[in-house]
């Protein structure tokens, strides 16, 4: 099978770029720790309200951890609890969320916080809120007739 020399050059260049690109992704993921939200913890979806920390949704100061606060959200058709929350500017926060019924999304618009909430699973994301303002949280996964009404908000206050 014969390959034209220009095609060889093109493929070497293309595959080379691909390797560089994948290396960048890999270093970011495994060396810098920028992994997509992939929490492996599970929960009984019927007992979310009785299981800590989901029995007390909202912001809680924590001590002795790599983050200053834990922000707990419980999603159910078609709302989030809490419906709004204030976070101090510059706080390092671990967001912990789950759903009581169907699959929901958890997206803080205009940020990189974006995760799927699936019944039986806990989703987590650690972030630092270093820009003041009001952030809209939307459900970005179809969950039923009220899907587009499902929202919450985070206010980052100085």
């Amino acid at each position: 099978m014969h390959m034209h020399k220009f095609e060889k050059a093109w493929l070497i260049f293309g595959i080379g770029s691909l390797l560089v690109f994948l290396t960048v992704l890999g270093v970011s993921a495994f060396y810098l720790g920028n992994q997509p939200p992939s929490c492996l913890a599970t929960i009984d979806p019927e007992k979310v309200d009785k299981t800590a920390p989901f029995n007390e949704p909202g912001l809680k100061k924590v001590e002795g951890k790599d983050w200053d606060y834990e922000l707990v959200f419980v999603a159910s058709a078609f709302s989030y609890s809490p419906a709004s929350v204030e976070v101090p500017y510059g706080a390092k926060v671990k967001i912990i969320a789950t759903t009581k019924d169907v699959v929901h999304g958890f997206e803080v618009a205009g940020s990189n916080i974006n995760m799927m909430l699936e019944p039986g699973y806990i989703s987590e994301h650690i972030t630092t809120f270093d820009k003041a303002g009001e952030y809209l949280i939307v459900c970005n996964e179809y969950c039923g007739v009220g899907h587009h009404m499902m929202s919450s908000k985070i206010e980052v206050v100085k």
């Binding site: 595959i15 913890a41 169907v102 205009g110 799927m116 019944p119 699973y121 809209l136 179809y142 007739v145």
Partner: protein, 551 residues
């Protein structure tokens, strides 16, 4: 390559079978296109659906009818016609198999459609368990898939017969490509068939109370990504084999075309996790492994791009073109059979770039489930693929109906593609932009309680409605051309263009026809990418989820 088995014309009886597929496909285009128009209008905030029809109900119609019905029927019709043309008329047994496949798919489509219309299945085509649709909806879609297997069996049977009769010979290129796509489809649809038959169907019938969501989603996306390659490969068939003949050039390399299809077979399937990057329950190392496998399809895509432009340039230079881009002027810019798919090829450049962003492990966090993604696949499937299918229809429909593409219809075809490109620039462009600002996909019009961020999205939604309206004009025009070519165009001969390789003497290596080898590697890659995370999902499963009907 001289191919003594090729028919000058597709046999009339095989033509009828292919045409039956196209009638359903273009009916789907009409219904799905109308649903799409209504969605963009609702999202503009200036229009409400009448008679209590739900936004998510028409969204389900749009996805099922265009994503599954239009594509599967068109592709199967095209592949059957291509196989019959290049490997010879189907035997009666093969043709009957094809008809059984067609009627199974049609019955399944009707069943699913009735359930959607009765508002018993507003779960979109991606299912979203634990939202629970009526059992008949799942049965309907299963029939569509099983029907496509039976349809595909006709292609496999023809291929096997050809190989038996021509020992030691590489199969005709279009037959080879149809076969690769059919096999990839069968291996991939095992995933969705499994979740439906073993999980969703018993659950919707009340035989089991709960369903394992992690497993169901993983099985669905095992199918969900190869699905898009199943749409794309027939477009590549047209780009590799048909377009060179249409412009009067040669296929750059028969062997390299086969190799790129084999690479698509290997790397299209073990990649579903890149749709699940934001999901809990899957270890990120396995996600990353599938991200790498996802990116390996870049290689055959680069080969395809090179091959196409090499064909164009060699043709232009053979016609006396000079300078770096002089060959561009020599291409047949007045021929819809070339121009329409060409616009599709151009759209694939931004479409492919967007796809790289989507699959990029961390970068997916910025765009996951935003309307950016909707903008992305309206460039890939709804522009590159669909415009190529339209470009194919302009010669294939009259070829099969014994008519010809008139000058007027040819011109209308080009106008149609230009309208499509304009409408899509508005719609997809605005979707990409709004998505970067965070606007979610699959969502009806909402001001989110007057939030400032949501207010920023609305002008883009108006732009999407403008684009959507222009696209709907394009659909009306396409349906007009289809009806003309199927029923009213003047009787005559329309060529089925099949290109010849530039190197006539170079025989494609027989290793490409070694299916034990290629399917073997395909399965090894699938097992490698999925076994451990899949066992994890089962072993560490949370209590199952009950069904909900929240619409």
């Amino acid at each position: 390559m001289f191919n003594p088995t090729a028919n000058f014309k597709v046999d009339r009886r095989d033509g009828k079978l292919a045409m039956a597929h196209f009638y359903v496909a273009f009916t789907a285009l009409a219904i799905g296109g109308l649903a799409g128009l209504l969605q963009t209008l609702v999202r503009s905030g200036k229009f409400e659906l009448p008679a209590g029809i739900g936004y998510y109900q028409i969204l389900t119609v749009h996805g099922v009818v265009l994503g599954l019905v239009l594509t599967t029927f068109f592709i199967m019709g095209f592949q059957l016609a291509a196989t019959s043309k290049t490997s010879g008329t189907l035997t009666n047994k093969q043709r009957v198999t094809g008809w059984i496949g067609f009627w199974l798919m049609t019955a399944g489509t009707l069943l699913a459609a009735v359930m959607i219309l009765l508002n018993e299945a507003t779960v979109l085509y991606t299912f979203y368990a634990p939202l629970q649709a009526h059992a008949l909806y799942y049965i309907g879609l299963t029939l569509v898939i099983v029907g496509s297997w039976v349809d595909g069996a006709a292609i496999i049977m023809k291929y096997a017969e050809w190989r038996r009769k021509n020992p030691g010979q590489p199969s005709p290129l279009l037959t080879f490509m149809s076969l690769v796509n059919t096999m990839m489809w069968i291996v991939a649809t095992i995933g969705v068939a499994s979740t439906v038959l073993f999980q969703l169907l018993p659950w919707s019938l009340g035989l089991v109370e709960t369903v394992n969501i992690g497993v169901s989603r993983t099985l669905f996306w095992y199918f969900g990504h190869p699905l898009v390659y199943f749409w794309l490969l027939p477009a590549y068939m047209a780009w590799y084999v048909v377009i060179p003949k249409v412009i009067g050039g040669k296929i750059f390399s028969d062997s390299l075309a086969r190799m790129s299809f084999i690479l698509f077979l290997l790397f299209s399937i073990p990649v579903g996790f890149h749709h699940q990057l934001m999901e809990p329950g899957i270890d990120p190392a396995w996600k990353f492994l599938q991200v790498i496998l996802t990116f390996l399809v870049v290689i055959p895509s680069l080969m395809t791009a090179f091959s196409l432009f090499a064909t164009f340039e060699s043709f232009g230079r053979a016609k006396g073109a000079s300078g770096l881009f002089g060959w561009m002027k020599k291409l047949p810019w007045g021929d819809a059979r070339f121009v329409v798919p060409f616009i599709g090829m151009v759209a694939f450049i931004p479409a492919g770039a967007g796809g790289i962003i989507n699959a990029s492990h961390q970068m997916n966090q910025v765009v996951h489930n935003t309307i950016w993604v909707t903008g992305h696949f309206h460039l890939t499937v709804a522009t590159s693929v669909v415009l190529t299918f339209f470009g194919v229809s302009y010669w294939l429909i009259p070829h099969l109906t014994g008519r010809r593409l008139t000058k007027a219809m040819n011109k209308l075809g080009i106008i149609q593609a230009v309208i499509w490109a304009i409408g899509m620039t508005f719609m997809s462009g605005a979707m990409h932009a709004a998505g970067l600002l965070g606007a979610p996909r699959r969502s009806s019009y909402s001001e989110y309680g007057g939030a400032a961020q949501a207010a920023e999205w609305i002008p883009y939604q108006v732009a999407q409605a403008i684009g959507g309206s222009i696209l709907f004009l394009g659909i009306i025009l396409m349906l007009y051309i289809f009806i003309n070519l199927a029923f009213f165009a003047p009787k005559g001969e329309q060529e089925f263009p099949v290109g010849e390789a530039a190197e006539e003497t170079e025989k494609a290596p027989m290793v490409f026809e070694n299916w034990k080898l290629w399917l073997g590697i395909t399965f090894v890659l699938i097992l490698f990418a999925y076994t451990i995370p899949f066992i994890d999902l089962i072993q560490n499963a949370p209590p199952g989820a009950k069904g909900y009907k929240l619409w």
